[in-house]
């Protein structure tokens, strides 16, 4: 199913605490303990059947066939004329080695052909039964293992997912979503493969090898040792080749990464490539990385290509040794390890040495897979052990419907120890007020609003709503009453309808459409191929940034929160549309406590309070007109940000834009 290549070209990870991780993993398997016990029993049964069948074939040889081989020589020689040839009679019993080796059924030395055939038939039936049994046992163990493994994996997945929701935003600001994602998916993937497939192969393979070795040793110690001479060579060859292959495949992973990066960049930037007439140079570049990829692959495959033929050749050598040594001993009538070698024993050993090849290859190749899976499990547990920063108070206050009075008292906050992002913020917003927050990038505008729905906790000071500290509130009831529209509004790959309904799952279609109309989103929604039922691409792909923001506004409107936060909510909406939704936005703000981070003047001018944030402190506060009159930080900011148009021509003369001030 999976060639050595498919396994060897994976990244290997070394687990650090194997014992603890396995212990913890086994707890996930605990509910399926009975199934696992059954699987173990089935592994033993199928391995036993595989070990016993070559021996039975040997018995068939020694009990029924070897006597016939010997006797046929006699009957041939004696001929039909019935003249007895002296000296032949004692051969009719066959060779003594076979006789002594045969334990299945002792037939009288003069048993007829019919007896031999019917005896053989009985034995073959037993063997057939064994083969059928092996298949059933193998099938069952695979199925049961897949079943148990899938359940365990599903449980782990859901646990991880729930934990992801518990972790606070602080965790996500320190860890890239993409990184967490690829870790979870890769680790789960390796775990799944090992649980469903590799574990059984390795366990079964090891057991088979050990059992066969044991069986051979007990059947004939010396003969067994000689026959197994090549086994260590096989193991060494496998280890060496797969080790080399892994190293070489590491290089191919880099190279194919380069090829992909090159493709990605050149295709997505094709317009610029053509605009600057860079096609030829690009094609040449690609040729180079493409060739490097080819060469790395050829090199890596040299090792995997060598592994299988080497093992096959060694297998043939093993066969040569078995038949050669056995045959010579038989011819000379010598004993090996004190026992006579019979034809049947040779046949049995022939069967055994042929069975070595595959498990050795599988075990060595899959073993590192198991290692990687343990390391993967370790990392998943590491994620699960990550303690969430924000946890609900043990006895949270049921707040019911809030009024919307928001108060910050001496709030400080740091993302990294020692780096204060907010330094003593005080603010007070009455229910229904609009608070505009302005300031340069990095001043801490978003940080302030993140404290209201408790995405972060203040380091010191307090944030209260209607006089209740947000830390003491039930998280659900707090957040469900705070609506947020973000600059980069996130949409889900679902219908437009469901995306708007996101904040209020029980809203009717009519309510959703009302919200969409309010946000002036209905026009473009209806122009989509299936209107409200259009399924958006991943992250709302296919919509412009502005359209996504309109949907986010509709979403917030539908949620009907007491406190509304607009974080650059209309930054990507074009000016025309923005003017259109301006009225709607004002309606939306009406009667709610609102916090607005905006770059458009109109919103700020109508705010009840304008807070000017600079380096984590509120530098100025007041209404728009008050602040303009004051000619302080707000006035400067306002001048540099909003008054820019007529400054441009001045630059031609080499003067800055502030010349007008």
């Amino acid at each position: 199913m999976m060639g050595p290549r498919g396994v060897l070209d994976r990244e290997i990870l070394k687990p650090k605490r194997v014992g603890a991780t396995l212990g913890r993993l086994s707890r996930y398997f605990a509910p399926y303990g009975l199934v696992l016990l059954l699987v173990a029993g089935l592994i033993i049964a199928s391995t036993w059947a595989q070990v016993i069948s070559p021996e039975l074939i040997g018995q068939a040889t020694d009990c029924y066939i070897a006597p016939a081989v010997a006797r046929n020589a006699v009957t041939n020689a004696s001929g039909a004329d019935g003249v007895a040839i002296p000296g032949m009679e004692d051969m009719t019993g066959g060779d003594s080695a076979s006789q002594s080796n045969c334990w299945w059924e002792t037939l009288a030395p003069d048993a007829g052909s019919d007896e031999l055939v019917s005896g053989l038939a009985r034995l073959v039936l037993v063997i057939v039964a064994l083969y059928v049994g092996t298949s059933i046992f193998t099938g069952l163990q695979f199925f049961l293992m897949t079943w148990a493994g899938s359940h365990v994996l599903r449980n782990m997945r859901e646990e991880v997912f729930r934990h992801i929701h518990r972790l606070s935003l602080g965790y996500y600001s320190k860890n890239e979503a993409g990184d967490i994602m690829s870790r979870i998916t890769n680790d789960m993937d390796t775990l799944q493969q090992v649980m469903n497939f590799a574990l059984l192969q390795v366990l079964g393979g090891v057991l088979l090898i050990v059992w066969i070795i044991y069986k051979m040793l007990t059947l004939n110690l010396v003969y067994a040792l000689i026959s197994m001479l090549v086994v260590p060579v096989m193991i060494l060859a496998t280890l060496w080749f797969s080790g080399q292959a892994r190293k070489a495949f590491r290089k191919t992973r880099q190279e194919i990464g380069n090829v992909n990066a090159n493709l990605q960049e050149s295709i997505s930037g094709v317009r610029e490539v053509q605009a600057f007439a860079r096609e030829e140079a690009n094609i040449e570049n690609f040729r180079v990385s493409n060739a490097a990829n080819r060469d790395a692959n050829i090199r890596a495959v040299a090792f995997t290509a060598a592994l299988a033929p080497t093992l096959e050749a060694l297998g043939y050598v093993a066969i040569a040794i078995v038949v050669g040594v056995g045959g010579i001993a038989l011819l000379r009538g010598q004993t090996l390890g004190g026992n006579l070698v019979s034809l049947g024993l040779i046949v049995t050993f022939l069967g055994y040495v042929q069975r070595f090849n595959q498990p050795i290859q599988q075990v060595s190749v899959l073993w590192t897979n198991i290692q990687s899976a343990i390391a993967g499990a370790e990392r998943i547990f590491g994620l699960l052990d990550e303690a969430p920063d924000i946890v609900e108070a043990p006895k949270p206050v049921e707040i019911g419907q809030i009024q919307g009075r928001v108060e910050f008292k001496d709030v400080t906050l740091e993302y990294n120890p020692g780096e204060l992002v907010l330094k003593g913020i005080n603010l007070h917003a009455e229910p229904g007020q609009t608070v505009a927050i302005v300031g340069p990038t990095g001043a801490g505008k978003t940080t302030i609003i993140n404290l209201i729905p408790r995405f972060y906790d203040a380091k010191s000071g307090s944030v209260t709503i209607d006089g209740v500290n947000v830390r003491d509130m039930k998280l659900d009831s707090l957040r469900s009453q705070v609506g947020i529209v973000l600059q980069d509004s996130f949409l889900f790959s679902d219908t437009v309808m469901n995306n708007i309904r996101f904040g209020r799952p029980e809203a009717s279609d009519e309510e959703v459409m009302d919200a969409a109309r309010l946000a002036h989103a209905e026009d473009f929604i209806l122009s989509l191929s299936e209107g409200y039922q259009t399924i958006l691409g991943e992250r709302g792909g296919g919509l412009s940034q502005g359209q996504r923001q309109l949907l986010a506004i509709a979403r917030a409107a539908l949620a009907d929160p007491r406190i509304l936060i607009l974080d650059e909510a209309t930054s990507s909406v074009d000016t025309r549309t923005e003017r259109q939704i301006q009225a709607a936005l004002e309606k939306l703000l009406e009667g709610r406590t609102s916090f607005v981070i905006a770059h458009r003047l109109s919103t700020i001018r109508n705010a009840d309070q304008v807070l000017v944030l600079k380096d984590g402190v509120i530098a100025e506060r007041g209404t728009h007109t008050e602040l303009i009159d004051r000619r302080g930080a707000y006035y400067d900011l306002y001048m540099s940000q909003f008054q820019r148009e007529d400054a441009a021509p001045a630059t031609v003369n080499g003067q800055g834009p502030r010349v007008a001030v």
Binding site: N76, I298, E312, F490, G503
Partner: protein, 640 residues
Amino acid sequence: MFQRRKKGEKGQGGRPKPSFRDLGRAIRYLGHYKRMAIFAYLFLFISTGAQLMVPQLVQNVLDAVTSGMIAQQIGNVPASFLPAVLERLGWSAEQFDTFANRPEIALYWAILFIVIFAVARGAFAFSQTFMSEQVSQGVAFDFRNELFEKIQRLSFSYHDRNRTGQLMIRATDDVEKLRGFIGQGLLMAVQALVLLTGTLTILLFTNFRLTLVILPVLPLALILFMVFGAVAQPLFAAVQEKLSRLNTILQENLAGIKVVKAFVREPQEQAKFHVAAEDLMNQGITVGKVFSFLFPVIFMLANLGQAAVLYYGGVQIIDSTLTFGEWQKFSLYLIYVFFPIGQLGFIISQMSQASASATRIFEILDTRNEVMNKPDAKPLAAISGKLAFENVTFRYFGGGDPVLSNISFDAAPGQTIALLGATGSGKSTVINLIPRFYDVSEGSVTIDGIDVRDVTLESLRSQIGIVLQETNLFTGTVRDNIAFGRPDATDEDVIAAAKAAAAHDFIVSFPEGYDTPVGERGATLSGGQKQRVAIARALLLDPRILILDDSTSSVDLATEAVIQRALDKLMQGRTSIVIAQRISTVRNADQIIVLEKGRVVGVGTHTDLMETNPIYAEIFSSQLVEDAVVDEETELVAAK
């Protein structure tokens, strides 16, 4: 855009009908590596031959043993009876002598040969695999290069219809599938056939009746393998689909964690995830069921074949129509019969996939490029920058409603033309026609009186500087990116361009200055920095004609002024076609062209249009009035 994409998806979703003609065409790529391929196939025959010899030699060993045993027994017979006995056994006196006195000689020889053939088998099998890998990697290399070359040259209209991700899959997955089949699958198929026919021939000659016993099992096994191939593919695809659905939920919840938390959606998302996880699990179990059934059954068939040989062969030995060695040889050869059948089954399922991949790859390679050099295209000499549109009409993909109808305007060298209009009015299309990213459907675009379709693309585009709204930087240093259109530019030129674009200061503030790596794997520049690099890049070409998409981007407002200054500098003394957003650009333009639904609805200067053109006045007030308000207020404040 959205609807078009939808359709595209459907087109891709339906599996293209595998046409074996395409596969045949792909196989001809082996011809690029003729010598290597021939050697690979030659080695295949040698290694398979060596493999076929081994069971025969095992028989020789075993027959030598049994003959020796018998000869030893016959040694007891009185000399007078010997000739009669030998005659009945069909042995000559010399043979008897060998069997009786030197039985081990034959045995030694056979063993020696087994070892020799084992080594030969190993060596040639390795060479064969290695060479076929070289060939297959070579074929993949060729396909990728051809695809890349084609994709790089295909015009914008092609790229409008095809997404980067899809094209990448063609160049990676599809090439890989084709490689697997052409490079290895074919060889494996030939090997399987050679091994199968070789084995069956030997078996038939060894013992016709015994061969007939196992023959019926073969088609059964082949059918099972093919069923397996046919069943496995969609099953795996289903698992993959369920997995990706699960991962989408995970991915969205990670990337949109803030929204999820803000709207308290955890319970619903967890429920969604639970359903997806359950789905995936059940699909996995279904696959498990099928595999747990099929694999053991196939394995059992092979074993039952062995059991049949054990019994019928045994009966034949008892009847003395078969020797012991032949019997063992049969059971060894039997492995050679089942193994290639498994391979064939696998290759057959691989083949239909490969042929679908071939179809998709050739679909790209055979795409007719809509914008190409005319056969008699001449290089465009240095231009002065006179630009004219004459009755230009344009339709996307050569059909449907015109995006532009009957557009005409003239730009004298050095003039600035501002294009104004709502989204979808055709502004971008106008600028895309100048460097021939698309070709007009009717009418003509001329530069210095020469139709752009009559000159070579390279000479045309190298004289036009373009700054697009969204800037892509490429892997390489900052310097490489500025010199993108003129790789031979000197450091002085690059620095001068960067200075003019107000990019020099931030570039030298990087520890590695102009050698700072950027692009996919390099440092990320901010939006404003990228845009300034793009301006420097256009500036370095020192083009006579400049195309600017001056739309507001999500650049930090403070840097916008800096960019504006750089742009103004860039436009000086060049014919500039600008999609205008800023009031200053519009006011200072020599001509403003107002577009609506692909038609020119007004041409003139700001003052002309304000008076004569109601549409312009409307756009102006809606789009620009806020800034005007700011201006007024500033004046107000200044007056205080």
